[in-house]
Amino acid sequence: MTGPILQFEAVDRAFPLAGDRRRHVLRGVDFSLDRGTSLAMVGRSGSGKSTLLHLAAGIDQPTAGTVLLDGVRLNDLPDTERSLLRRDRVGLVFQFFHLLPHLSMLENVCLPGWVAGDSATATRARARELLDRVDLADRADDLAGKLSGGEMQRVALCRALLRRPPLLLADEPTGNLDEKAGRQVMDLLLRLSSDEGAGLLYVTHSREQAALADRVLRLRDGRLESAQS
């Protein structure tokens, strides 16, 4: 319960190219995130934002440096352990929502609970509760394919929060939404994550949205700079 929920220490991530060349996507990234705080990451496309998120979620491994998730060193952890860790500690929100269209909203939200093998009733109750907080409870049994972008992202948010993860990661959460929906989703994201006491790390293009966070960091050519203004 103490300590930062996420820590990057001199993290490097390089991808091998043809021959002996490598592409360094991240170099010497150093930062930490505490529970209950929010951190926005800005940068141009190709600057390594998605990679950083992948590393944070344990989906990818750094080539150098250490990533600590809730004090646990992710580097040499086998895939299964990382999956379990991710299950309990991380919630993900994506730019493209990634809901299963053939399932209902409720079922989509329940997904992490199913993966983890939680009690079906408890899962469903929590899912309903979350949907209620985003004002979608009355359409919980509609198929997810029939929603608008904003509605879908709200459902995705519920899904991410289902198991009360201490770390919330969002990759361009409003990238596919219009202005109004985007503001609504950002608002919900910040509020709910704060309510749940989770640490929030999100990647964005928009300066206005970055400004809503407690801290802002800039990624340029794989290096982290703190950006003011």
Partner: protein
């Protein structure tokens, strides 16, 4: 067509190796099925043709008798015809090699002084071995035969060695006088041909005054058919004059039903293969949609894209054909013995010893492979070609249309089914092929109903957890892929189940029937009984010994031969005579379909009437009271039909008459088989042992009741052995379809799977999900297939069988067989899912690209 585009295709194929391989494999298996079956079909006829050529050489006509032989005194009449330039007699018989299990030899007795065109050149050192000057020995050295070098080697015999052959109940010693390579001149001839002088052949294997045929050479420039007609007139109704083409046609006619059924089965395999191709091509095209979108936006027309896709498919189709041809041929070779055994034991034709791939069949295979591939690819190709470039390039996935179309398709299916039923009831059932038409449309309608069924069944399952229910629900999310896999599996399973039910019912019916008809305790036949066409029989003293043996209460003597009805239909005539204590005799009656048992029995013994078997009655349209006319040496004899009995032993029909009646038609002749009933309290086993001692030195076979029943069932099982191969093939295709579908789904759902990984699912969980999807496909295919199979079984048993054979088959459920097949199919589906599930489980979470799941 730009060669660079083709190179791009090659690159794609290398990338999507599994898809490409499976497409090729699908074509290969479809082609292999067709090639296998048609090679066997051809082989069967070619063996007959080759045998004909080997024995008759280039004879223009052959004179045969009605029944097992012909009066040799017709020879001068044949020679007297003005357009006949030569004619020669042949005596032919089958002998069973003593000491070799199930090895036969065909004896051909020739007149070496006739202008025989037999492809024998005994003076040519290249063909013959052995002292040529001793050739004259063939006239007076007892048992002199000429064997082929191949067979002699197989039997371990050299020139000068003796060996023993059983003919009916006699043991005959033969001496290898010379080795002559008949096969050089007629490559398809059996290596089991042996040449003898006609006098010895008649003495040892035949009957004085009777030969099997005269081969005739006609004056050049004169049409053989005209001469045949003239000869027929001179010879009268006791003989028939046939050209080689007519003889081959007769053999083909015999096998017509057998071959048709095999062909139908192979076509179903092709159908399943086409399904597979449809599915694979569709998936492949969807994957490459951006590539096509790019092409279109660069200016390629719809037609060009269509052409490119079809060309690619054509290449794959050719590759599949190239693979399928040798596969099919190899499969045919593997099955050659089985089919051969069927030909000899059931149809009494020559066995197949070698086969070759006729060029026409290669052409057919190419058409099937290429055509099937193109047919399968046509719809998906049109679909892709018709879409706008924007859609193709778009981020969103291609809209899943099948879900919406499902009800409409089902409706079409209902419509088709209704239309077919209307046609059938309205008059279609008069056609002999109507059963096949129904079966075909059943196979068409099943896939049309599949999408809706899938959508409404698994599509409504509440997932409830990350397990098999989620997996099943997932199947409904990609109907375009899963429907086809399920449909293909369902069609195959239908075929499997249908045929299993047919075979099972048939077998059960046969078993019951055997129980009713084979009631004697001991059955005695000559050693060469199985190949005999009625020309050899047990010696009189053998028969007397059997009838009067201690412990025997009654005996049924059976004489049989083959002839034709006046309509040209080939029938087996079985004549019986009862000896012994009528009271003690166990009543063995042919179970009757029509006619009163007592009356029938009484009339058969007293009058010149006949009891006919059900297939004959149905095929010839005969009922009790009608007249059956049979051809014999003295013309046609009318026989009143007094009863119709069930008989499953022959598809051509059997005519039962009394021995006296048969003698009236064909003259005197001996019995081929004797069935003995024991006196009460006597042990059949002990009597059999005593008989063996008493019959020592005679080549008889004694079979107990059980053994005979077992043999009959063995022959039955053998007949259907070939269908098992086809079923296995089709099943492999369908299971490949499952694998393919899951691979495609894995690829298409990469994002979805990555999502699960992001949520924290382990690889093991994804693997199990994939397996459950495979099992789900299996179960669905199985269920649908069971339903379809039941309907197909009914069509087979009630319609096709009735139209082509005429047996009454009682429906029976071979539960054990079906259960085992279900287990295999399910197991196969799960096994097919392993690799795709493994691949799916390895989907990295980073696969969440800039595509959406929608």
């Amino acid at each position: 067509m730009n060669p660079r585009l083709l190179r791009a295709a090659l690159a794609h194929w290398r990338q999507a190796r599994t898809l490409t391989l499976l497409t090729v494999f699908g074509v290969a298996l479809g082609v292999a099925s067709v090639v296998c079956i048609q090679t066997l079909n051809q082989g069967a006829l070619a063996a007959f043709g080759g045998g004909m050529k080997a024995v008759s050489g280039d004879a223009d006509l052959t004179v045969l008798g009605h029944g097992p032989d012909l009066d040799e005194n017709l020879y001068p009449t044949v020679l007297a015809h003005p357009d006949v330039t030569a004619a020669w007699p042949l005596v032919r018989a089958w002998g069973r090699l003593a000491g070799h299990e199930d090895a036969y030899i065909e004896i051909v007795g020739v007149d070496v002084f006739a202008p025989v065109r037999f492809p024998v050149r005994l003076g040519d050192a290249g063909h013959a071995t052995g002292d040529v000057t001793r050739f004259a020995d063939l006239l007076h050295v007892p048992g002199w035969v000429a064997l082929t070098p191949a067979y002699a080697e197989e039997l371990g015999l050299a020139a000068g060695d003796t060996f023993t052959v059983a003919v009916a109940d006699r043991l005959v010693t033969l001496e290898v006088g010379a080795l002559v390579d008949f096969q050089r001149a007629a490559p398809l001839a059996s290596r089991k041909l042996a040449l003898m002088d006609i006098s010895q052949a008649q003495h040892l294997f035949g009957h004085r005054g009777r030969v099997q045929q005269f081969d005739v050479q006609v004056r050049p420039g004169v049409a053989p058919e005209a001469v045949a007609a003239g000869l027929q007139e001179r010879l009268g109704p006791g003989a028939q004059v046939l050209t080689p083409a007519q003889r081959e046609q007769n053999a083909a006619g015999l096998l017509a039903a057998f071959r048709l059924n095999l062909t139908a089965l192979s076509l179903i395999s092709v159908l399943v293969g086409v399904f597979l191709i449809f599915s694979a091509v569709h998936a492949s095209l969807v994957r490459r949609r951006r590539e096509f979108g790019l092409l279109r936006s660069l200016g390629a027309s719809r037609r060009q894209v269509l052409g490119l896709i079809l060309l690619e498919t054509a290449v794959l189709g050719l590759a599949g054909t190239a693979l399928g041809l040798p596969l099919g041929y190899a499969a045919a070779l593997l099955n050659m013995e089985t089919v051969s055994a069927t030909l000899t034991s059931i149809y009494l034709l020559s066995e197949i010893e070698q086969m070759h791939l006729p060029p026409l069949l290669v052409a057919v295979a190419v058409v099937v492979g290429l055509g099937g591939a193109l047919l399968g690819a046509l719809l998906p190709a049109l679909d892709i070609a018709r879409r706008d470039p924007v859609v193709l390039l778009g981020a969103a996935g291609l809209p899943e249309r099948l879900s919406r179309l499902a009800p409409r398709l089902a409706l079409v299916g209902v419509g088709v089914a209704a239309a077919v039923m209307v046609w059938y009831l309205g008059g279609g059932r008069a056609y002999k092929v109507s059963g096949f038409v129904l079966a075909f449309f059943l196979m068409v309608v099943l896939p049309l109903w599949t999408p809706l069924l899938l959508r409404e069944t698994v599509g409504r399952i509440p997932p409830g957890g990350f397990g098999w229910r989620l997996g099943l629900r997932g199947l409904a999310s990609r109907l375009q892929s899963t429907s086809f896999a399920v449909a293909a599996l369902a069609v195959t399973v239908s075929m499997l189940v249908g045929i299993t039910l047919l075979i099972g019912s048939f077998r059960a019916t046969l078993d019951t029937w055997i129980g009713q008809t084979l009631v004697a305790d001991i059955y005695v036949t000559g050693a060469s009984w199985q190949r005999d066409l009625g020309q050899t029989w047990l010696a009189d003293d053998t028969v007397d010994l059997l009838v009067e043996f201690d412990g025997v209460a009654a005996a049924d003597l059976q004489r049989r031969l083959e002839t034709r009805t006046d309509q040209g239909r080939r029938v087996r005539v079985v004549a019986f005579e009862r000896r012994g204590d009528a009271q003690r005799r166990k009543i063995s009656r042919v179970p009757l379909l029509a006619g009163d048992a007592e009356t029938v029995e009484r009339r058969l013994l007293a009058e010149s009437v006949a009891l006919i078997s059900e297939p004959l009655a149905r095929q010839a349209g005969l009922d009790v009271g009608d007249t059956l006319r049979l051809r014999g040496p003295h013309g046609t004899t009318p026989l009143a039909v007094v009863g119709i009995g069930y008989d499953y032993a022959s598809e051509n029909g059997v005519v039962f008459v009394s021995r006296a009646t048969l003698e009236g038609m064909f003259g005197p002749g001996g019995v081929a088989a004797v069935a003995l009933t024991m006196a009460p309290g006597r042990d059949p086993g002990a009597v059999m042992d005593a008989l063996r001692v008493a019959l020592d030195g005679r080549a008889v076979e004694l079979r107990s009741n059980q053994r005979l029943r077992a043999e009959v069932m063995d022959i039955f099982d053998q007949t259907f052995a070939v269908t098992r191969i086809l079923q296995a093939m089709a099943l492999v295709i369908a299971v490949c379809g499952v694998s393919l579908t899951l691979l495609i789904m894995g690829r298409e759902r990469a994002t979805e799977l990555a999502l699960y990984r992001c949520i924290g699912a382990t690889r093991g969980q994804l693997f199990r999900l994939g397996l459950s999807e495979g099992a789900g496909l299996g179960v669905l295919g199985l269920a649908l297939g069971l339903a379809g199979g039941a309907v197909l079984a009914m069509i087979l048993i009630l319609l096709i069988n009735r139209d082509w054979f005429g047996w009454t088959i009682r429906f029976a459920l071979p539960t054990a067989d079906l259960v085992w097949q279900g287990v295999w199919i399910l197991g196969g589906a799960v096994a097919a899912a392993v690799y795709p599930a493994l691949r799916a489980s390895r989907t990295p979470a980073t696969e969440l690209t800039r595509e959406d799941l929608l």
